[in-house]
């Protein structure tokens, strides 16, 4: 014990401690060198990427920056109320026959006098696209996921095939599905529904089967012991455990799908996305701001509602990997 004792003459540290301390310093130094090398490589890749992006862009960043501000300055409605007139299809006092101030012609009349404003109608289409695709995609993912789970399906071939199908559906570019269907069925929401549904099968299917694989197998064992069939095991042993998480992931998917359906809408699926692309492309400031506000409100409302519902169903546990398979 003597060599570990405190020795005031040598500054309070024994030789053994010094060696350990030296090794520690050495390791810290090596780690620091590695960190610095990693950071430098990272910085170089970032710089090269930025440079490439700038070179590939049709307008250069610093050249175009003043134009961006000019665009912002010129992109202002005549008065703030114009935005709300555009939103609710009320006649504009600036009407001059051009599309820019024509807010009334695209009303959707329910009866002689009662109408749904154009953008709100488009918004309803977009939200419905999202909901329908979540239902279709979620339903098919629900059926498929049990065949991809190791703990329920013994046959490796089935699992392999189902998982690969899910992977391909997840990674397949949505615009190609939408584009192909647009070519066959002409422009409209069906293309968007198909594209988003297929993607949803892949994304939700993956999350679902991971939930199934993490489920407690004791109820399943019990059911197997009394001779339950595969379907009965899934229904009574698995489903009650996984359903809350399934619902939570499906709600999260709905949030993502609302965003996706606006984007797909802009490339030929119809709905508010297309209206937005047209209005910003034609410099219709009031209409553009009206759509931005509508979209913002919708997305916040959908997020809040689904968040509230999820919290009621599963508490806070299922929030963490929300974007896992987005």
């Amino acid at each position: 014990m003597a060599h570990l004792a405190h020795d005031p003459a040598t500054g309070g540290i024994s030789d053994a401690t010094k060696t350990v301390f030296g090794h520690y310093r050495q390791q810290i130094r090596t780690r620091r060198v590695y960190s610095i090398i990693a950071l430098v490589v990272f910085a170089i890749v970032l710089a090269m990427s930025l440079n490439f992006a700038n070179a590939a862009n049709s307008g250069k960043f610093f050249e175009r920056l003043p134009y961006l501000f000019d665009f912002l300055r010129s992109f202002v409605p005549n008065d703030p109320l114009e935005i709300f007139r555009a939103m609710f299809d009320l006649p504009s006092p600036y009407a001059d026959g051009s599309m820019k101030y024509d807010f009334t012609s695209q009303r959707f009349y329910l009866t002689e006098t009662l109408y749904i404003p154009h953008f709100i109608y488009e918004l309803i289409i977009t939200v419905n696209i999202a909901i329908v695709s979540t239902i279709i995609g979620g339903g098919l993912a629900f059926v498929l996921c049990f065949f991809a789970a190791t703990n329920l399906v013994g046959a490796g071939v089935v699992r392999f095939v189902v998982r690969r199908i899910m992977e391909v559906l997840r990674a397949f570019p949505e615009i190609v599905i939408a584009g192909l269907l647009t070519a066959i069925l002409s422009i409209g929401p069906i293309a968007a529904i198909f594209a988003i549904s297929l993607h949803t099968i892949g994304a939700l299917g993956k999350l679902f089967f991971e939930v199934v694989e993490n489920a407690d197998m004791k109820p399943d064992e019990g059911l197997r012991a009394v001779g339950a069939t595969w379907l009965e095991r899934v229904r009574y042993g698995m489903l009650p455990q996984v359903l809350p998480n399934f619902v939570s992931y499906t709600l999260l998917r709905t949030e993502i799908n609302v965003r996706a359906s606006t984007i797909i809408g802009a490339v030929g699926g119809g709905g508010i996305g297309e209206a937005f692309r047209l209005s910003i492309g034609n410099n219709h400031a009031a209409k553009t701001y009206a759509i931005i506000i509508l979209l913002l409100v919708t997305i916040i409302a959908v997020d809040q509602f689904s968040g509230w519902l999820r919290r009621r169903l599963v508490g806070n546990q299922a929030f963490e990997f929300g974007r896992g398979a987005a």
Binding site: N57, R64, V132, A171, A266
Partner: protein, 448 residues
């Protein structure tokens, strides 16, 4: 047989009263599943009407759908065999799958000016002269006479030879079809695979098999005296006029750069701000609130809006894509990071604080080591998902492979190119998913 397990009256009563919640659910809980299913079906029925699904499917161009899908994995040679001065001459569409003087084995010109087109075998062929086309279907000849105003199929013709107004269509299934008109025969000959995928007809490497290509690459005799044969091959490949490999690969790189830079910048931006938003680190409720609402605002504006907005500002290209990903993900990552920070273990911070460290040092050694793996793993998730969404963002105007895809689909005849780009995207997404998975599992392994 009677039950092995028997429950007597008192036991039943006891169970009923002690597990009332299980045995006596309210009616709406018991009927939740059927009611939910019926509501869903009703809703889907409403949407079926609302989106006009029925009429849209009825009016769909399903015959074209088959054609488009065949185009994904096969190609069509489309010569027009025109009649002039008692002779037949072939003219080619702009896509030009054959060089001008190529010898084509399925299209033979005879000395008398007539032509033979074979569709897969000798039994299925067309003998074309300006006044008479003989279509052999399964070995049976059918004489199609060409008048001045109209072309007539023989009366005993099978289903494959079909009169369509003034023209006659001969259908050979997958191998192709021919439209016999008064002044020409429009032939569509289909082959499996992609035509001229490696080299186009202008290249010296055209029509060679892989072995010959390698031989030519390594031969010392230069095709182009200014550069090596290998260099020529690479240049010819990238400059392929039909497939545009160079352009497509650079567009793909643009999309990848969008996702990478966008996510990275969002990470760098959200990292410090998350410390301000976290309640346990910055002890000022108004500042926390303001920061969190800023994240919510950024997150809630659709990526589409950012993308189109910056496309107006900077023109199409990766910059609007980067900006769109940056703004949405800065908000989303900020929120996730702030939540992770609020869940840190306080003991480590207290330990560092107790030895008198400054606030920044407390965060550096008491907080960052705990949250860094979580932060990086979340950013990797976002990177993965952005690699996919950058394609769509590109299509609405930000450029990259998305716009290229949209252009190719818009022509309705470049589906083979669409298939090629889809394969590239799938490959890239798989590779990046695996990289990100590997990085993530290493990180999480280390943090345990």
């Amino acid at each position: 047989m009677s039950n092995v397990l028997a429950i007597d009256e008192t036991e039943r009563a006891r169970l009923k009263s002690s597990h009332a919640a299980v045995l006596h659910k309210p009616w709406w809980k018991r009927w939740a599943l059927p009611i939910g299913l019926v509501a869903t079906v009703l809703y889907l029925g409403f949407c079926y009407v609302f989106f006009n699904v029925g009429p849209a499917f009825e009016n769909g161009k399903w015959d074209r759908a088959a054609l488009y899908l065949q185009d994904w994995y096969s190609w069509r040679a489309q010569p027009r065999l025109k009649f002039a001065d008692g002779k037949v001459t072939a003219t080619w569409s702009s896509r030009g799958q054959y060089p001008a003087d190529a010898i084509i084995d399925w299209l033979t010109l005879h000395d008398d000016g007539s032509m033979t087109v074979t569709f897969g075998s000798e039994a299925d062929r067309l003998e074309v002269t300006p006044s008479l086309v003989t279509a052999y279907v399964g070995g049976e000849p059918h004489e199609i006479t060409i008048g001045t105003d109209t072309v007539t199929a023989p009366p005993d013709a099978p289903g494959a030879v079909r009169q369509d107004g003034t023209k006659v269509i001969v259908d050979y299934g997958f191998a192709g079809q021919a439209e016999v008109r008064t002044n020409q025969v429009y032939v569509q000959r289909r082959f499996l695979g992609w035509s001229n995928f490696w080299f186009d007809t202008r290249s010296a490497y055209w029509g060679l098999n892989p072995l010959e290509v390698i031989q030519l690459m390594l031969s010392s005799e230069r095709i182009d005296p200014t550069r090596s044969n290998f260099d020529t091959a690479v240049q010819n490949f990238l400059g392929n006029g039909v497939w545009q490999h160079g352009d497509i690969l650079s567009k793909l790189l643009q999309t990848l750069v969008m996702a990478f830079v966008g996510t990275l910048l969002a990470t760098l931006f959200a990292f410090p701000l998350a410390f301000i938003a976290a309640r346990n680190i910055t002890r000022s409720r108004p500042v926390n609130w303001l920061m969190k609402r800023t994240f919510d605002f950024l997150r809630s504006i659709d990526m589409l809006i950012w993308a189109l907005f910056f496309t107006r500002g900077f023109g199409p290209g990766p910059i609007p894509g980067i900006a769109a990903i940056f703004f949405t993900d800065a908000g989303a990552l900020g929120k996730v990071y702030a939540e992770a920070l609020e869940n840190v273990d306080d003991r480590q911070r207290e330990g560092v604080k107790s030895v008198g460290a400054a606030p920044s040092v407390v965060n550096r050694f008491g907080v960052v080591p705990q949250v860094l793996p979580v932060f990086i793993s979340q950013s990797l998730y976002f990177w993965e998902s952005n690699t996919r969404s950058a394609t769509v963002i590109g299509a609405v105007g930000a450029g990259g492979i998305g716009l290229k895809l949209l252009e190719a689909m818009g022509t309705n005849s470049d589906w083979d190119k669409v298939a090629y780009m889809v394969l590239l995207i799938l490959a890239v997404v798989f590779i990046f998913d695996n990289i990100s998975n590997a990085l993530r599992s290493r990180l999480i392994g280390r943090s345990h």
